[in-house]
């Protein structure tokens, strides 16, 4: 089975802290994604990566950055956390660029910024 593992299920951080959310997939997938999930808004794409060291902005990249130094790992970074970044964060991975390949999700990280 494909595994997409997010390092933390719950995180509580203070305003202004630098926050790292880690995601690892074990299926050698080319594409990895970070989404933010908020009630009534569904999933919104923050950043994605189609190869090592490559990154592309999604719909809501402001306040976030990402890092992909190895194919299996995709990190989301909040440089200076703010209360409006309190949310559920989902990582996903998929092989190839077309919808014929299934996109797999991690269990999510629920981040609270106080």
């Amino acid at each position: 089975d494909v595994k997409v593992t997010q390092s933390s299920r719950y995180l509580v951080k203070r305003t202004g802290e630098k926050v790292f959310l880690e995601c690892v997939q074990d299926m050698d997938h080319e594409n990895m994604f970070w989404y933010r999930q908020d009630p009534g808004l569904g999933l919104r794409l923050i950043y994605f990566s189609y190869d090592v060291k490559m990154k592309e902005k999604g719909d809501i990249p402001e306040g976030y950055s990402v890092s992909r130094e190895k194919k299996e790992r995709f990190s989301l970074i909040l440089e200076s956390a703010s209360t409006n970044q309190t949310s559920m964060y989902l990582c996903a991975s998929r092989n190839g660029g077309q919808g014929k390949n299934i996109q797999y999700f991690g269990a999510g990280t629920r981040l609270s910024v106080l």
């Binding site: 569904g42 794409l45 994605f48 660029g97 077309q98 919808g99 999700f105 269990a107």
Partner: protein, 116 residues
């Protein structure tokens, strides 16, 4: 830009009955994929069913089936013989078949509760 709309924020159904979740989308593309994902409480999101737009036949996976109306840009999910384990958030999603595309568009979700 493609958009996906789920007009039912919450629904409930009695165990063993049938329920239909609605989804509409907006696109100028002709070739694309549509998906229904299920997110159980505190658990990972998983793919329920997938439809390729060029296929006229509606996709079916056991108790789950879709009603795909391409002209109307509608993609509803029917769950037959509902079970307690079907309680979850359900997300409709769209993805173009263009090779350079990488992102999937999601609706706001429908929270389904199956009652005993």
């Amino acid at each position: 830009a493609q958009t996906v709309t789920q007009s039912q924020p919450e629904m409930s159904v009695q165990e063993a009955e049938t329920v239909t979740l609605s989804c509409t989308y907006d696109t100028s593309e002709n070739n694309y994929y549509l998906f229904w994902y299920k997110q159980p409480p505190s658990r990972q999101m998983i793919l329920v069913i997938r439809q390729e737009a060029y296929k006229q036949q509606n996709a079916t996976e056991n108790r789950f089936s879709v009603n795909f109306q391409k002209a109307a840009k509608s993609f509803s999910l029917k769950i037959s013989d509902s079970q307690l384990g079907d309680t979850a958030m359900y997300f409709c999603a769209f993805m173009t078949r263009e090779v350079q595309a990488n992102d999937m568009r999601f609706g706001a979700g429908t929270r389904l509760t199956v009652k005993p």
